[in-house]
Point group: C2
Chain length 119, copies 2
DNA sequence: TCATTTGCTTACAATTTTGTAAGTGTCACT
DNA sequence: AGTGACACTTACAAAATTGTAAGCAAATGA
């Protein structure tokens, strides 16, 4: 849980108020969030499918990031309680609206990322 | 200094290799980096000017973020050793090339950021 | 029905980032 | 020579994020 009484927290909030880019950044920042969003742009996925689609992510962190994305309304967790069972994660319209932002990030990275030396 | 032997570090590197958006994100992530970049888009500034332009930032963190931005080649630290004295921070062409990305982030934030309740 | 898979949660630890406070060296001015 | 502004650096601490390992309940499949 994050403290709401720290200088750190206050600084972040203040920045969001006078820099909307910083706000956007905070929504997509986090080790695996972008990857999750990109996967969900292709199609809706279940927890386990995400886990397999994202090598290296652990259960704990996947759950955390999904929860954060859900809290920020970028995705919906659809559990059909009446009949079905397994929940499915699906991008919300708000989540889909990030596509342009992600494309912009991708484009810059593709152009400017230094070539990785293979090992 | 960051450890290069941690799982955390390895995960980050791996992500950068297969998601260029994640790479871009890593370059602009950091509490005050965006703000510094935005200020420098307007005009070149000295350390002290940046400090005054960005309320809340501390000397230590300003120095750290400037160093990171410099290492990522987004800005130049120009110290005219021959005659002048005070170093000036100036965006590199690479730094300026981020303008489109930042605009994209700003646009999304402006449209989708929830209204702040004043206090 | 009973083991297995699935979708998580919990307790804990390592790592990373950010903040606090004080100090250092260079330069300018007096 | 002394004082102060400026551009940092250092030692330290707090906070935040990420990773490791295990556990657990509900749903599924045999």
């Amino acid at each position: 849980m994050r403290k709401t009484t720290s200088t750190n927290y206050e600084n972040e909030q203040a920045l969001h108020e006078f820099c909307s880019a910083a706000f956007t950044l905070s929504v997509i920042s986090g080790r695996w969030k972008l990857t999750i969003l990109v996967k969900l742009m292709e199609r809706d996925l279940r927890y386990g499918e995400l886990k397999h689609a994202i090598p290296g992510i652990t259960e704990r962190v996947l759950a955390l990031q999904l929860k954060a994305l859900e809290e920020d309304q970028l995705l919906l967790k659809i559990s059909d309680d009446t009949s079905g069972h397994l929940p499915i994660y699906s991008l919300s319209p708000l989540g889909r609206s990030l596509e342009a932002v992600i494309n912009s990030l991708s484009a810059w990275g593709t152009t400017h990322q230094p070539i990785q030396t293979s090992r």
